[in-house]
Amino acid sequence: MIRVLFFARLREQLDCSRLELSAAEPTLTVQGLRRQLMGRGDAWRVALANENLICAVNQQVVVADQDIADGDEVAFYPPVTGG
């Protein structure tokens, strides 16, 4: 199982803060997961097309070709604005 989290504006655009997916493909990358999620409907296709989105796997920021393994926690979020 892969847990996928969404934050801030992206969470609102998707109306979804969290998904649990079964880890079907053994060689899923972050980019592959993103394409898969974009197939869930118009809101998903539009919101996840944003090139500024950041992705973290197990709470570490990663690049698009990072592999995802069963049990991973994957998060997508917009540029940060704390401080």
């Binding site: 989290l5 934050f7 801030a8 998060a75 917009p78 940060v80 604005t81 704390g82």
Partner: protein, 161 residues
């Protein structure tokens, strides 16, 4: 690298004086303490902020702040570092963030404090939503913050003099 790190992400308020005392206890013998306090600004031209909401990524936000504080300890000679960030709903004038660094010398304390703020602003998973009376909106990330953070990549190595 021997300094102490304190990181907290919390909904409640904090007391800068108490945090500074704790910082000095964690890094005794320091001659210099630099601190930064960020507060909610309530005005922008004619606009008045009703409230701000800070969202975070539980677990990763704390880990990210710890990573930034640890990087500061590696780059400068510091006795201790403390980073406290609030989340949840905040009102104008409320504290948002406190960063304190102590060191034997002021240049290390200053540089580390500013480095932590620049990295926190551009790397720690925290997002502000504001209500200026005409509805809520997510705050946009600023390119100038990214540029300020980039300065630390090449220049500004720790000084020990």
């Amino acid at each position: 690298m021997t300094g102490q790190v304190n990181v907290s992400v919390q909904t409640g308020d904090f007391d800068p004086a108490g945090l500074q005392r704790a910082l000095l206890e964690a890094g005794p013998g320091a001659g210099a303490v630099a601190s930064f306090t960020g507060l909610v600004r309530g005005r922008e031209g004619d606009g008045r902020l009703e409230w701000m909401e800070l969202e975070h990524y539980p677990g990763m936000t704390e880990a990210s702040l710890e990573q930034i504080a640890t990087e500061a300890l590696e780059r400068w000679s510091l006795g201790a570092v403390s980073v406290v960030h609030r989340v949840g709903r905040l009102l104008p004038g409320d504290h948002i963030v406190w960063v304190g660094t102590c060191s034997r010398h002021r240049q290390d304390a200053f540089a580390a404090c500013e480095f932590i703020m620049d990295y926190l602003k551009t790397r720690a998973p925290l997002w502000k939503k504001e209500n200026w009376g005409d509805g809520q909106r997510w705050v946009e990330a600023r390119g100038s913050d990214e540029l300020r953070a980039d300065r630390w990549r090449t220049s500004q190595k720790g000084s020990r003099d």
